[in-house]
């Protein structure tokens, strides 16, 4: 099965404070939505580069509910993200805020994730709104130092 072209990710910046990521998945929106909200599933994939694990993964997926993700690496240490769900529209949309703790918290990052039917699969569109330039600076620094930007800090690049 060749899904390479089907699932290619795009990542681009919009202006100074927006970052938009798109990705197709060969599963219906119900499944992709659940993979983004159910902690048992999140901890299987939201791991970034090889070698990181997620010893703590808490996700209370309801409006106002909190989540907490902790990552650990045998050599590179650990860090965590906390956040709150603002809006949840099963199985099409999630709006949340989050901040990274390094250990001092970074400014908040506002994220909207959409799951739209795409044939038998799903087109995911994630749009991050960073409140100010400092936020992105902190995220960039973290990504470089930890090699862990992947997790819930989504950024840049057009293919």
């Amino acid at each position: 099965m060749n899904t390479m072209t089907m699932t290619q990710m795009t990542l681009k910046t919009e202006g100074d404070t927006h970052i938009v990521v798109t990705r197709r998945f060969a599963a219906p929106p119900e499944a992709v939505y659940r993979a983004h909200t159910d902690p048992k599933i999140i901890r299987k994939w939201l791991l970034g580069p090889e070698g990181w694990t997620m010893p703590v993964c808490i996700s209370d997926a309801k409006p106002g509910g909190k989540f907490r993700y902790e990552w650990s690496h045998p050599k590179q240490g650990s860090f965590h993200i906390t956040g709150e769900y603002i809006e949840l529209e099963p199985h099409s949309r999630i709006v949340h805020v989050e901040r990274m703790h390094l250990p001092d918290p970074t400014p908040e990052n506002h994220v909207e994730t959409r799951f739209d039917p795409d044939g038998t699969g799903t087109l995911m569109t994630m749009r991050m709104t960073l409140p100010d330039a400092q936020t992105r600076a902190a995220m960039l620094a973290t990504g470089m130092e930890r090699g862990m930007e992947a997790s819930y800090v989504r950024l840049e690049k057009m293919i």
Partner: protein, 118 residues
Amino acid sequence: MSNLDASFAALADPTRRALLARLALGEATVMELAKPFEMTQPAISQHLKVLEMAGLIVTRVDGTKRPRRLAKAGIEAMDQWLTMLRKALEKNYDRLDEVLAAMQSNPTMEPNAKRRKR
């Protein structure tokens, strides 16, 4: 590393992108840089200051002249970071592909999605 953020902001402005494009051709003074633009030298200097603080250009002192040139390190650092980030994100989503495939072949992982056929 905080330079990377400044780099994005610096590149968001079309005048600054044009200045970088000009500097990609080689070192130039403020006067030379201002020429193609309908802007005053102080306005151009302000843009150059932003670019320099972002680590994208450097200033050389040459007598009374202050020619600017591209700082490759700044631009390369930004490229590197973007590449690293994209790889990490792609890794996550490749993993998610496998997880989704497992969910479909193992419905017990997905108690809410049991399809009832009538």
